[in-house]
Amino acid sequence: MGFNNPYAWALLPLVGLIILMYMLKQQHEEMEISSLYLWEKVLAQSEVKKPWQKLKNNILMLMQLLAAFLIIMALSNPFLTKGKALGGNIIIVIDRSGSMNASYEGKTRLDIAKSMAEKAIVESDNSSVFTLISIDKTANVEFSGVADKQEAIKAVESLEKTNMSGSIKVHLSLIKSIYKQFESANVLIYTDEEVALEDMSGEIIALGGYGSNVGIGHISYSQDSGEYTVLVRVENSSQETEKRELALYGEDRLLGLKDLELAPGESSNVLFEGIDTVYKYLMAELTEEDDLPEDNRAYLVLESTDPKSVLLFSEKNIFIEKALSSIKGLEVYKTDDINISAEGYDLYIFDGIMPTKLPDDGSLFFVNPREGNPYFKSGETIEGGRADILEHSLNENIDGYNFYIGKMKALEKPYWADALIKVGNNTAAGAGVYEGRKIAYTAFDIHDSDFPLDASFPIFMYNIAAYLTDMEHQGKSYYFTGEIIPLNFISGIQEAVMEDPDGKKTSIGEELLDYGYSDTNSIGIYKLSYKKDQDERERILAVNFPREEGIDAFQGQWEGERKEGNRRGYSLMGLNLQAPIIIFVLLLLAAEWMVYIRGN
C-alpha cells in the first residue's frame, strides 16, 4: 500500500483535537446525590453489559475519530500497490538499436521491451500521460503527452526493429531535456546498454545478457593480377567456444567455404584467394543461426567503373602529372608535341602550351593560357598576391584555403565560367560549360605559385578532373545500416530510384541527392537506377550490420536501476482507494448521526 500524497498525514494531529474536544466535553458535572440505589437500577436496565456500555459511551467519539482518520487517509490518496508501474508523466524510452534484435527463446529483446512497456502502460494510473522515445541511430520522439492508453500501446506495438547502431548514452541529454519539461516525471528505459539514470527518477530495465553469437566484423578485398583476395574477420562474442561455417558468395554463386572454431572473445581473419573479378558484389555468410542473426552476413561491392583517359600537354610540369596519376580511375597520358591531332580522350590539359589544333571532343583544362586562345581574352602579366579558394561545389573540401601567386595573367573571366580562385578582384581560376563543353582554366603558371606545396592542390586537381571527366565517386565498398549513403558523386542525373534489399523502391528527388539516401535499415544490396545523359545507369551499394552492435549485445548482465525520486504527481499503479474511503466515510457519518439520534 502506498500514498500519492503522503503529506496529508501531517494533518493526523488534528485527530487529537477531536479527543481533546471530547475530553473537554466529557468533564461531567459532578453531583452528589443521596444514593445511587435507584440510578444503578436505571442504568442496569439500559445497560446490557458494562464494557459494551463503556464503549457505547464513547462510540460517537470512536466513530468520529475513525471518520477523521479516514478523511486524512483519503486526502493522502492511498492505493494498493499492484506491480511496479507508475503514474503521472511517464517517459518510455525503448532502445531499438541492432543489439536489441538479440533473442532469447524466440523473442527478441525488443519484443520483450515492447511487451513490458505495454504492460507498464496498461497497469499505470489512469491519469498517466505518456511520452514514447525510440532510440536507434537517432532519438525519435514517437509521441508526447498522450493520455490515451490504447493509442500509446498501439504506438509501442508499431515500433519496428532496426539494424542500426545506437546508444542511449548519446541521447541521454535529449531524454533529460524532455524529462525536465515536466514538473515531475518518471523515465522507463528499456535497453541492453549499461546506462545510468543520473538525476532522473524512474527505472532502467536491463535487457542485456549473454548469448551464443558469432558475427562478421569486417570484409574487404584487394586486387592482385586480375584476381581478388577477400578478407573476412569473424568474431565470437559468446561466452563459449563456437564452431561455425563461413561461406563466400559471388552474387548468388558459392565461391568458398571455411570451417572455424573460435574461443570466447576470439576473432579470426579468414582469407579467400583467387576470386574472379566478374562479380558486382560478394557476400560472406555464417551458415548457422545464432542469437543475433543480423551480423551473420556481410556484403561487399566490387569496383566496376571504366577508367577515364586524360591527355596532358606539358613541357615540364611534374606537379600536375603527379596529382592526376594518384587519382584512382584516371589514366594519364602526357605529351609535349603540340602538333599531334589527339582525339578519344575524356580530358585535355594544356599547361602553358597551345596545340596547333584544339581537339573536338572531351573537356578542356587550360593552365596559364597563352595569347590567341579562342576561349579567353588574354591580358597582360600582373603581380600576384594571396589567392583565395572560393566557396563553390567544385571546391569541395578546400574552400577557404589560400596560397600565394608570384605573377599571373590579367585574364577577363568569361561569362560562362564561375570563379574558383581569386587574387584580389582578379579571377585566378574558373570553370564552366561553353557550347556543351566543360572548360576550366587557371590564369597563372603553377610554378609561379606555392599552390603545389599546399594540401589543397591535389584535392583541387581531383575536383577539377572529376568534374571535367564526369568521373564518379566510387564510394565505399559497403556502408553500415543507418548510415547515409552520399549520392553527390553524380551530377546532372534525373529520375533516380533506389531499390532496397527488400525490393522496396524509393524515388529520389533532385533536392535529396546532396543529402544522400538515409533509409538504410535493411542489410543487403541496394540498387540505384538513374538516368544520366539519356543513358539508363545502375549502381549497387552494400549495407552491413554495424559491428559494435553485435559485439556489445552480449556483454553480459547488469543490474537495472530504479529511482523513485520525487513522488509528487507520481502515482504508483494500483487500486486507488480514495473513492471507496470517501464512500465509507459518508456511510460512517450517516451511521454516527443515527447513533446520535438514538442516543437521545
Binding site: H28, E30, M31, S34, S35, L38, W39, E40, N600
Partner: protein, 291 residues
C-alpha cells in the same frame, strides 16, 4: 430543637391525635391505649350474663332489677403499647431540599409525642451502619424532653443495612414498629418484615423521599456521586433515562407497598418537600396511621 414543630398551637392539635392501634398487644402494663381485651377501665364496653367467679362488684344491679338476671358490666381494658421508632441515620437521609433527615426527625418527634401523650412506652432506635442505637424506654408525657434531647444528637452518616441493624434489636413483646427511612438500603426488606412478624410487631413504613428524588431536575452529562459510598456513575441524562428513572421509582414504591401489605403493615410515601402538617393531617390520617 429549633424546628419549631413543637409550638404550642401545633402541640394542641397534636394532643387531639393518637396513634391508631387496632391491634393492641395483650402483654404489657396498662396504658391509655384502648385494647380489645376487656378489662377494668372506666370506659364501658359491653354486658354479659354473670358467670361463676365473676367479681360481684361488677354486677349491674339496675339491670338485675329490670330483667331479674345477673349481668356483669364489661369495661375496656386500657393498656400501654410499646412503640419503637426506627430512624434511618445513613448519609443518604441527609439529602434533599428540604433535607429528608429533618422530615425524619420531625416525624419521629411527632410520633414520640403522640406515644408519650397516650401514655405508651416509647423507644427510639437509630439505625446506622449495621448497628442500632436505642434510647431508653420512655413513658409518660414528662419524658418528651428527654426524647427531644435524644433526637437532637442524631448524626446522619455512613450507610445502613436496615435488615442487619434492626435484627440487633430485641423486642420485649408485641408492639408497634415504625420505620422512617428512604429505604435506599442494603439487606433484604422481606427478611426484616419476617423478623417484625416474629415479634408480633405492627409495622408502619414511613418512606421519606426528597422532591429531587421524586422528580429529578438534572440535565446533561452528570457524574452522580453516591453520598454514602462515594461511588460514581456517569449518566447522560436524556429524556429516555428520565422515563426509566420514574418507572424505576414507581416500581420501587409499589414493591415496598406490596411488602408492607403482605405482612399486614402500612406504607406511606412522604416527600420531605411537604409541610409537616400536610404529612400529618393528610398523608398519615388518610392511611389511618393516626386518627
Amino acid at each position: 430543637m429549633g424546628n419549631g414543630i413543637f409550638e404550642p398551637e401545633f402541640l394542641k392539635r397534636l394532643e387531639r391525635l393518637s396513634i391508631n392501634m387496632e391491634k393492641l398487644t395483650a402483654a404489657g402494663s396498662g396504658g391509655l391505649r384502648k385494647s380489645r381485651a376487656k378489662g377494668n377501665s372506666v370506659e364501658f364496653s359491653d354486658f354479659r350474663e354473670y358467670a361463676y367467679g365473676d367479681d360481684l362488684r361488677r354486677v349491674d344491679w339496675n339491670a338485675y332489677g329490670r330483667f331479674e338476671k345477673l349481668f356483669v358490666k364489661l369495661f375496656m381494658e386500657e393498656r400501654e403499647t410499646m412503640v419503637n421508632i426506627f430512624l434511618d441515620c445513613s448519609k443518604s437521609m441527609d439529602f434533599g431540599t428540604p433535607k429528608k433527615s429533618v422530615m425524619g426527625i420531625q416525624l419521629a418527634a411527632v410520633i414520640a409525642f403522640l406515644a408519650l401523650n397516650n401514655m405508651d412506652r416509647l423507644c427510639i432506635n437509630l439505625l446506622n451502619n449495621d448497628t442500632v442505637i436505642s434510647s431508653n424506654v420512655l413513658g409518660g408525657r414528662g419524658q418528651f424532653d428527654r426524647c427531644a434531647a435524644f433526637l437532637d444528637k442524631i448524626r446522619f452518616e455512613g450507610t445502613t443495612n436496615m435488615d442487619k441493624a434492626i435484627k440487633m434489636k430485641k423486642f420485649g413483646g408485641r408492639g408497634l414498629s415504625l420505620v422512617i427511612s428512604d429505604f435506599f438500603t442494603q439487606g433484604s426488606l422481606e427478611d426484616l418484615m419476617k423478623y417484625f412478624m416474629f415479634y408480633k410487631q405492627d409495622i408502619v413504613l414511613l418512606h421519606v423521599l426528597s422532591p429531587q428524588e421524586i422528580n429529578p431536575e438534572l440535565q446533561g452529562q452528570i457524574r452522580l456521586k453516591d453520598s454514602e459510598t462515594g461511588e460514581m456513575v456517569d449518566v447522560d441524562l436524556t429524556p429516555s433515562i428520565y422515563d426509566k428513572y420514574r418507572q424505576t421509582l414507581n416500581n420501587f414504591i409499589s414493591s415496598l407497598k406490596e411488602i408492607a401489605k403482605k405482612y399486614g403493615g402500612t406504607y406511606v410515601t412522604i416527600s420531605s418537600g411537604d409541610s409537616l402538617e400536610k404529612v400529618l393531617f393528610e398523608d398519615m390520617i388518610t392511611t389511618q396511621i393516626i386518627k
